[in-house]
């Protein structure tokens, strides 16, 4: 299906947000996900979050340092 990822069109075979992150090699435990206007953090319920055709997904990586 086609989604909008980081503002650009993206083709993916993933059916959930968690699967999409795995496809991208992103660690869900340290990512903030903005999906359909909602914010999800630290892999919370990403497994159960279905990807939908045309949906907008933004992912922000959290890296160490402070």
């Amino acid at each position: 299906m086609k989604i909008t990822y980081q503002g650009k069109d993206e083709e993916t075979a993933a059916s959930t947000v968690a699967a999409f992150l795995a496809e991208k090699g992103i660690d869900a435990k340290t990512a903030i996900v903005e999906y359909r206007g909602e914010i999800y953090s630290a892999s919370e319920s990403l497994d159960a979050l279905s990807l939908e055709e045309g949906a907008e997904l933004n992912v922000y990586r959290i890296v160490s340092g402070g």
Binding site: T30, A31, I39, A42, G65, G66
Partner: protein, 199 residues
């Protein structure tokens, strides 16, 4: 407060009544707290388990004569040298999912100022459901590339500052200028969010 000369009565009241919870009193937390106090914030809840050590002096708002002191105690002392009548609620403790809610439940805004990616994610997971203005960072190691540190607004209440890639790790370290930019960016965005303006 020193900031009052530059604030309207409305702005002063908003900033003085805000209760800002700061998770971590290291490079980000100590400098962000300093900026918030100078900007007119009066009430802070600060948590950190660590003590001031020599390497911290490369970027953190502490002084050589405070080596060995608890960071929360030393930071409270330094902030009160700027504004003596602050209301500080300090917690000498390591944050975990079980105590974050209890420590920060009365806060009206949050600053993520922790070290590790796991701790940052843990804190955000705990406080984002409160729906309050929240600032966090990701990516500030090294030097140069000041313009690479940007802020992103995620949803209505969250601002994430950093370059999203400069990880502090085995061969990559935090230095005062770049950590300082991120800490100032957190404080700057939070002041705007508290005042109901575009961060």
């Amino acid at each position: 407060m020193g900031a009052n000369a530059y604030l309207s009565e409305r702005e002063r009241q908003i900033l003085e009544s805000a209760i800002v919870g700061i998770a971590g009193a290291g490079g980000l937390g100590s400098n962000c707290a300093m900026h918030l106090v100078r900007a007119g914030v009066k009430k802070l809840v600060i948590a950190d388990f660590d003590t001031v050590n020599e390497s911290n002096l490369n970027r953190q708002f502490f002084f050589r004569d405070q080596l060995g002191r608890k960071k929360v105690d030393a930071l409270a002392e330094n902030l009160r040298r700027i504004e003596p009548d602050l209301e500080l609620d300090i917690h000498d403790t390591r944050l975990c999912p079980e105590n974050i809610g209890e420590i920060f439940s009365g806060c009206t805004a949050f600053v993520e100022a922790l070290d590790s990616a796991d701790a940052k994610a843990m804190f955000l997971k705990a406080v984002l459901p409160f729906g309050k203005p929240t600032v966090a960072t990701s990516g500030l190691a090294g030097w140069g590339k000041s313009g690479g540190i940007v802020q992103r607004r995620i949803g209505k209440n969250l601002i994430l500052a950093g370059d999203m890639e400069s990880n502090v790790g085995d061969n990559s370290f935090p230095f005062s200028p770049r950590v300082g930019i991120a800490a100032a960016m957190e404080a700057n965005a939070l002041v705007a969010l508290l005042l109901g303006e575009e961060p």
